[in-house]
Symmetry: C2
Subunit: 330 residues, 2 copies
């Protein structure tokens, strides 16, 4: 009997009608398979927030200036952003990674300094980073994940901060996975109609620089950002370490598309937390065959949606570990 079969049998023996916990049961099976056990645990869950800046902001792809990236990182470190509140009440902690913020950041126990550059280059005019920088992002993210996994982390919720990064996410999804660029570009943090038209034009200009399809690492180098490249590396490494990855919104999903293109089997470790209100997310999720747990009209990023899904993972693990069997009841 395979572990999959054993997990399903264990669920069927619980004190409930067959299948009556719906997706919580599917999640329990997935967690068990990732961790290789009939009794998966949500131990030391970490919300890992990668931050980086984007040269393309200068060409006009965001309603906000790049300085907001560093300001929000400070807010995460102060514990006062949405992701902090949501992580805290789920019994998780937030760790921030400076992947490439275009500002100096003070040393802080909750900050991992891994700056690959002071923001990427503007992909509207040329590559966002060198291939060596993209590889460095993948390697550094793997090292960070190793540190967390060695410390006992079994669930890694991924988030990000980077003004301008929905444009990178759209370009990555388009070049690696194929959906039309048109449907992938949205208002991001809040562009008005004129801003959206400008973003579309800049993205089209950036897309025209390179072939229709790119290999995953090439796409990361062309369009960035440092934080998205690290997210892809984190997904790949977490899957290897049998750490469950909780995928947040459009940015982390774009990173999952890149990681999936590199090693398709990493998808088995990914739980998709929520359906973002950013319009491109549906096409990205469809490419991966992913069905998110929550649909709350959120589009904040940070890992806020991933953090909100942690209680569902805890519920799934608890059903296998702590719930009475039918034979205990009758």
């Amino acid at each position: 009997m395979t572990l999959d079969d054993e997990l399903r049998r264990a669920l069927d023996e619980k004190a409930k009608p067959l299948g009556s916990l719906g997706r919580i049961e599917e999640l329990a099976v997935q967690l068990g398979l990732i961790q290789g056990t009939l009794r998966p645990r949500v131990a030391d869950p970490v919300v890992l927030v990668f931050a980086g800046d984007h040269g393309a902001v200068a060409s006009g792809v965001s309603a906000y200036p790049s300085a907001v990236t560093a300001a929000m990182v400070q807010t995460y470190l102060a514990g006062r952003a949405a992701v902090n509140l949501f992580a805290r009440q789920a019994g998780g902690r937030v760790v921030v990674v400076d992947a490439g913020v275009a500002a100096g950041l003070p040393a802080h126990p909750g900050l991992v300094a891994a700056k690959v550059g002071w923001g990427t280059q503007d992909w509207a005019r040329g590559p966002a980073m060198t291939p060596a920088e993209a590889e460095s992002c993948l390697r550094q993210a793997a090292s960070i994940v190793d540190g967390l996994a060695d410390g006992g982390c079994t669930v890694l919720a991924l988030g990000e901060m980077g003004i301008g990064n929905t444009a990178s996410a759209a370009l990555l999804a388009h070049k690696v996975a194929g959906p039309a660029l048109e449907g992938l570009v949205g208002r991001g943090a809040g562009l008005d109609d004129a801003g959206l038209a400008r973003k579309r034009a800049v993205v089209a200009q950036g897309a025209a620089r390179t072939p229709a399809t790119l290999a995953p690492v090439d796409a990361l180098a062309e369009y960035g950002g440092f934080e998205i490249a690290m997210l892809a590396g984190a997904i790949l490494r977490a899957a290897e370490r049998r750490v469950c990855v909780v995928v947040d919104g459009v940015i982390v999903t774009a990173a999952a598309i890149v990681a999936h293109a590199m090693r398709p089997e990493c998808l088995a470790a990914c739980v998709f937390a929520h359906r973002s209100a950013e319009p491109g997310h549906d096409a990205m999720l469809a490419h991966l065959g992913a069905k998110p747990l929550l649909d709350l009209g959120m589009r904040l990023g940070e890992g806020s949606g991933a953090a909100l899904a942690l209680p569902l993972l805890r519920a799934a693990a608890a059903v296998l570990s702590d719930m009475a069997d039918l034979r205990d009841v009758t």
Copy 2:
């Protein structure tokens, strides 16, 4: 400026793009309005599980015997059912009410003894209970809610256990709200095709005994159960006490339909936790104009869905209470 306006302004001043927390923001406004404050709290959340048996089980409306009701109540008291696990990880406690279980139950600190009868009469042949019993259910539930509210409970998640009670829920929704009976009757805890056909026949027989439309308390008396009548009473009283009610699946939603028919304003205090996989739920939710938070294919009852929604309420309250304002960031 109204409290509603003040709540929306407070949310707009938070360190996030406008509206980017989607339904969490709507929930924050609702919680603030229920509690009459700009800083709502999820203090001492209780999952209140009403249990009762149904005479109609003898006519064949469930895949399980009535004895399962008492057995599951024992499992709740032992802390080992799904609702216990989900409540615990949301920082809530489970309180069980014996509204009318057809078995003696031992005294237990987590059990409120409020037995109105040893199961209802079979509504296929006559009224499930007397009008006086229905009124007693409403009164006793109000008294229980008063006790919890006086003790500091600000959020009340409602659940139920009662073999046979999806049939009562279908009849109540049909007679009070109007949707066709056909679409309201499902497999409940797991009837096969023959069992479903029998349930449909018994429900049709029961429905034929009374006029097409019934006043809410008359409907409770005709079709029960004791636990559903108490749920309706709990909703009405919680709304009066400005306690937020978290509505679980089809049974609690049927009780909400009854309560709404008695005093429509009680709906403002209700948060609908999840969309049940039981097919009648959509029609019930549509009647109330309710849009549930979660859609996880669950159909267990117990309050398990309501308990899973508690972290979303905590998140909403935390956004208003603890999240940084934009002016703190820039």
